[in-house]
Structures are given as structure tokens and as C-alpha cells.
Assembly symmetry: C2
Homo-oligomer: 419 residues x 2
């Protein structure tokens, strides 16, 4: 078998551990240099392939690649760019083949979420549709935890840990202040369609550390009266409470709760988050003092408090992708298969991309408590192992010592290509 | 000398390390049980003294007190309650004396910021004004870093570390996304009067990890045109940039930039933060995609990423307060005296409360760069040691194992008191 080079790209929103998957790919390929040649990374994802803007990862030292394991974000740059179908945009697929041919690329590793799985599936079919032999393997990554078949998605466990830790810490804070000041803390978290991340806020409360937490899920229509009754109840019982609100929460009118038609003094539309909206509802309805925060990028970039389980799984997915490629697989995705909850055991499995693409995994209904404001024991059992373990990055001068790669460009061989 | 009991209370906004000061007080007192009796903590700060709601810390195990060192927030509850002067509210001081007498309290340890220093000063003068012998020692604490004489304030170093780490992480994220998506990340941080916390965002960029960061200080009047020019310049040069904005930034009209007179669709006033305002200015002025976050309580409660220097100093301040009391001092505050920058060395000093109360330490003008958007080398030299070192809490099931005390009430001996 002739040794072929590989293409690797990061796609969509980045995470605290997507670079750990990159490390898994590159280190596994280096350990199999008799079977896989160079790994060329796409600068800014698939755009790098289309524009022949390839990064030569062989220029990076073993230390630098190893440091990817503890570095958040996308070391080669990511992009939000979805390939259309071959029928709709044959030109892009022909360009990909041109680039693959020019650089002797026989393996396509695509590291992303649902949209990327779809793109990867399309690339995996090039052999059949356009006659170019390529093996395309998708590597799962998404903080939204919404890929099917795999038990969880690398990136989610670390966001979950960040939200659980932050909710616990902020709850301790508001509990201290509640006697004369702030009684409610509202934290806005990611998750436009599914409440996986919001659910993680529920882990902040545990048997040995009970905290009154109200979760507002995107799955549950916001009911103002019911919500205010719950807040009032908790504040009367505990003196304070915390609210974890998903950015995707909608009102009875079907609109996002964050979309309040805000105008400034000049009548200009203003974009706000949902946390201040919820805080205002609490102020107007109950007259309670509040504070609110919006975690935004902090939650998915927080490698400093990453879940060790998540880091290990992200790395394992990258490594497995290479092993599957060497074994001759195409159009598949490595998965995390849960074997048991306690002790938590998981193995690497495999899914067909045709079963993954365009399928969104929602929260099971039995993960949300009866009143719609909390998580059930089943949900806790599912989530708990995913935030297990700490995996601190090295520090230098009080700051995490994250790596920046050289990202040297591979010499171009083709003409320019307009996106 | 007869052994007297001590009163300890936490005041104002809590921090990641104020409980480390509490541990310093209680452990030092326990080590000097031949000189100091019980430590009674005020439940919810000074309110606990006024209402005779005292917590018997002798009921807590050595392990629990030791765990305070790694637990954020105020373990005994804090409050926002400022004593008036003896002339204005003699009744409150007479009540304090009544409570002190009833529980044989001869030492008053007050752990807080500027307002608390003023309260502590007033209590320290009770001996003279009302004839009750008490030694009052103030223990510095404030994330705002605005107490005079002491080189820095316990609580600030950990917030600074959190903001520096978070800004670095979010900047890595936006750099990954910038090619096709988000180009600017805006992070709102605390600091209504002084830009110390915002300045810490500047540490995210270092010689070996350059990041384009724009800081909006409360000390500098917001200049929209100049700001947009700076953002535009950075995005053209680096492809992205991060903005760290202090909640206290004001416009040329003298109003807070966050105060935009926002109205919802029904004309109701809405409270927003300054981060979305700045983000909207970027969108309107430059048409760039942005994300924004508001750290709020997360920043001051983030014990999981506390500065080791800060934890050590917080503990040392509590311990020194007890030693000063035993040595017969009254109306003083232990201070952190910087001996050298590199290597960083500091010693415990002492300030008179009359020199501390009602004095606010602002950022020196030479800490802000010429263009008003960054920190100078002098500022960096000052800040860098304060975020040095990690001091992780223990974890259990993936979450920090923070302690909750029993907080058993001391039996009351007096009649009720109306606040």
C-alpha cells in the first residue's frame, strides 16, 4: 500500500479540548509513519483545503504537538462554512480533489459537530461520485453534546464542568450576600436547541452540598408566573437561589426570551442576552436584588478547569480516527461507548456517518424534573462521570502556558480558487 | 492578663480568599489559647454583633477551619451595613458594648474594604468614647484593590488571575473563529471606580503570547471614534481582538456607558451591562461579528483558579491581626509590604486605621498607556506577582470540595435589638 498524506481540519465553534483531538491524530499518525505520510492541517478549517492553504504539521516539534493536549481553541483556525451537496456545488468538490491530488492526500479527518459530520459524509462519497479514492473520518466535537450514537461529545464535558464549578462558586457567593443584598444570581449559558449545558448547572448541587438552583431549559416553554413562584419559594426557604438559564429559552409566543425588542434612548435596536431579561423579571415580579453573568466564550475556552475525562476522550477520538483510517474504514466516526456508570467505564466504538449526519440528539424527557426546573437522578447519573477528574495545564508566570504552533504553509502547487 | 474572647466578622462583597483570612484568624487564635479565648463570628457580619447572633467557631473541627483556606465566599455570611458615627447613632455602639460585655469580648476583628475600615476605626475608639476596653483590628479584603498603604488587597490577586486567564482563553477562541465568524470578544469586569481589575486583563498578553487587547478603564472617558479606530486597527493587523471593559466606564456626558436608557417593546426600562453596549457600538460602527461575556460574581468567587500569592497573603493578614491584638495593638490593619518585584518578596506590615479609613487608592496615571487602552510596563511589574502560583482546592466527584461550617449559634443572653 502506497503511503498517503492526510488532511485534518477543525470546524465550527471551538472547544477546550478540540486540540487534544488534533494531538491524538498527529501523534497517532507519527507513530504510524510507515502507513500515513504527512498530516496537512487546513488553515481555518475546510477553507484551507479549498484555497490550498495547508499547514505542514511536520514542522512542529513533538513537544508542541503534545502541548496541544492542554491548549484550548483551534490551533489551526476553524471556520463556519458548510459544503453544499455535490449536485449543488460540484465545483467545490472538484477543487477538493484537485488539492488532494496535488498533495497526495488519501485521508480526510474532519473534527466538528453535526454540520461537519454532514460535510465529512459528502467528502467520504467522493470515491463513488467523482472517482477519487479518499477515506473520510469524522472526529466528534461539540459543546452542544447533540451528536447521535456517541454517548457524549468531546468538548461538552469540560463546558459542563466549568458551568457546574462556576454555579457552585457563584451560589456560595450569593448565599453570603443574601442577608442584606443580592438574593438571586442568574447565569446565562450556551445551548440554543438543547439544554445539555444548562443541565450541567444542576450538578453544582449535590447530596453533600445542597444548593437551590433553578434551570431554565430551551426544551421547556418559559412560564413567568411559575418561575417567580419557584424563585420566591427558594428565597423564602434558603434565603437565596441561583438560576442557570440557557440562551435558547423561549416564551409562550415562540420567540427567544432574549429577544425583547430592546431599544436605546434613540430608538436603536439593542442586542442583549437572556440573563438580564430574567434578572429584570425577578426584580419586577419579586423586588429581589440580583446579579447576573453571561459565560459566553469563557465556558467553552476554559481549559484551565477542563474535565480530565473529556480530555482523554477527545484525545482518544483523534487517535481512533487514524487507526480506523489505517484499517481501511471510510465514512465513519469514532464514538464514546459507555460501558457502566459506576465505576464509569467507556470504550471507543464506531458509527457510520450516514447514521450521524443531520441527526440531532436532544435531552431525553426523563432528564428534566417534573416541574421543568431541574435535573432528574437519571440525568445526574449520565452527567456526573463526564466532569470527573482535573487535568490542569502547565502555568508560567501565573498564566496557563498554552502553545501556539508555527503553522508553516505548505508550498502551493495550484492556481487560486475563489470561495 | 485575663483571657478575652474575640469577635470576627466578614463585611461587604465577598471574595475567593476572605475565608483564608478567617482561617488565619481562627488558627492563630487556637494556637494562642492561653491569650485569646473563643472566636465568635458574626452571622452576616456586623449585623450578627448587633443582633447578638454569634457563631461559636469552637464547634468547628480543625479540618473544617483548615478547609476555609480553599473555600470561596463568606463562610459566616457577610452584609452591606455601615455603622454611622457615635454621634449619629450612639444606640448601636452601646448595643455593641452590651454584646461584647455579655460575651466577654475584648478583640474585634473586622474583615472588609474601605467602608469596613471606617467602621472598625469607630469601634476601635469605643474605649475612648464610651469607656469599654476593646482592641479593634481591621483585616484588609477587597477585589477592588483600593485600600491605601497596603501594596495590594487580599481578594484582588485572585480576581486578577481569573480575568487574565479568562481573557487569554477567550482570545484564543476568538482567534480561531475570526476567519469566517466572530472577530471581537468583549468581556465586562468589575471595578466601578478604579480600573485595577480591568488592568489585569492586560496580563493575558505577554511577551511569549502576544494578544491584541483593548482595555476600557473607568479612569478614561470613553471616546467612541478613538475606540473604533483602535478595534479596526487590531482586527486588520491580527484578524481579531479582545476588549476588557470595566463596568464603571463613563461617556463624555459623565454617565455610565451601561446606562443607555434601554426600553423593552412595552417601554419598560431594562438594566443591561456595559459589554452588550460596547458590542453594539462595534457592530454599528464596524459591522464586525462579536461575542460578549459578563463575568460578574464568577470572577470574585473563582477559588478554583485562585492566585497562590493571594491565598497566602489573605491567610497571613488574618494571622497577623491576631498577633497584633495579642501584642496589644488597637486601631490598626496588617498590610502587605512589597520588598522587591523580582524575585517577588513581601512582608507583613502595619497601618493605622486613621490613615486607612475613607482613603481610596486609585490606579497611578503611569499604569495606563499613552493611548488610554492598555497597561504600561510599570503596571505589569506591579500586577504580575499578584497572580503568581496556583493553589487548587481538593475535588470530589469532579467538583471543588468546599466546606460548609456548622455555624452553631452562641446562646443569647440579651434582649432583642431592632436594627
Amino acid at each position: 500500500m502506497a503511503i498517503k498524506n492526510a488532511f485534518y481540519a477543525q470546524s465550527g465553534g471551538v472547544t477546550a479540548v478540540i486540540n487534544a483531538s488534533a494531538a491524538g491524530v498527529i501523534e497517532a499518525a507519527r507513530n504510524n509513519s510507515d502507513k500515513i505520510g504527512n498530516i496537512y492541517a487546513g488553515r481555518n478549517g475546510i477553507i484551507g483545503a479549498l484555497t490550498e492553504d495547508l499547514i505542514d504539521t511536520s514542522e512542529e516539534t513533538a513537544e508542541a504537538i503534545s502541548a496541544l493536549r492542554h491548549t484550548p481553541s483551534g490551533a489551526f483556525g476553524s471556520c463556519r462554512y458548510k459544503l453544499k451537496s455535490v449536485e449543488q456545488n460540484r465545483r467545490e468538490y472538484e477543487r477538493l480533489i484537485e488539492v488532494f491530488k496535488a498533495h497526495d492526500i488519501g485521508y480526510f479527518f474532519y473534527n466538528g459537530g453535526g454540520d461537519s459530520a454532514d460535510t465529512c459524509l459528502k467528502v467520504s462519497q467522493i470515491s463513488d461520485t467523482l472517482g477519487y479514492p479518499i477515506q473520510a473520518i469524522h472526529i466528534p466535537k461539540t459543546v452542544d453534546n447533540d451528536l447521535p450514537i456517541t454517548d457524549c461529545c468531546p468538548g461538552f464535558g469540560s463546558v459542563a464542568k466549568y458551568i457546574a464549578v462556576s454555579t457552585r462558586e457563584a451560589s456560595f457567593d450569593v448565599a453570603s450576600m443574601a442577608k442584606t443584598s443580592t438574593k438571586v444570581f442568574v447565569l446565562e449559558v450556551m445551548g440554543r436547541h438543547a439544554g445539555w449545558i444548562a443541565a450541567a448547572g444542576g450538578l453544582a448541587s449535590s447530596e453533600d452540598c445542597e444548593i437551590p438552583i433553578i434551570i431554565l431549559f430551551p426544551e421547556i416553554t418559559f412560564d413567568k408566573a411559575k418561575f417567580l413562584t419557584k424563585v420566591d419559594h427558594y428565597v423564602k426557604e434558603y434565603g437565596y437561589c441561583s438560576v442557570v438559564v440557557s440562551e435558547g429559552v423561549k416564551g409562550a409566543d415562540g420567540n427567544f426570551l432574549s429577544d425583547q425588542g430592546l431599544r436605546d434612548a434613540f430608538g436603536h435596536a439593542q442586542l442583549g442576552g437572556v440573563a438580564p431579561v430574567v434578572a429584570n423579571i425577578i426584580k419586577d415580579g419579586l423586588g429581589l436584588k440580583y446579579h447576573w453573568g453571561v459565560a459566553d466564550y469563557l465556558q467553552r475556552a476554559a481549559r484551565h478547569v477542563a474535565s480530565k475525562t473529556d480530555v482523554q476522550q477527545a484525545y482518544a477520538m483523534g487517535k481512533a480516527a487514524v487507526e480506523y483510517a489505517i484499517a481501511g474504514h471510510n465514512s465513519v466516526m469514532p464514538t464514546i461507548d459507555r460501558q457502566s456508570n459506576s465505576p464509569y467505564r467507556w470504550e471507543v466504538g464506531m458509527a457510520k456517518l450516514s447514521d450521524v449526519a443531520n441527526v440531532e440528539k436532544m435531552m431525553p424527557a426523563n432528564y428534566i424534573s417534573e416541574d421543568g426546573f431541574g435535573i432528574t437522578a437519571a440525568c445526574r447519573e449520565y452527567l456526573a462521570p463526564l466532569i470527573e477528574g482535573e487535568d490542569y495545564p502547565p502555568y508560567k508566570n501565573g498564566l496557563p502556558d498554552y502553545v501556539r504552533l508555527k503553522n508553516m504553509a505548505v508550498t502551493r502547487k495550484l492556481d487560486d480558487f475563489k470561495l
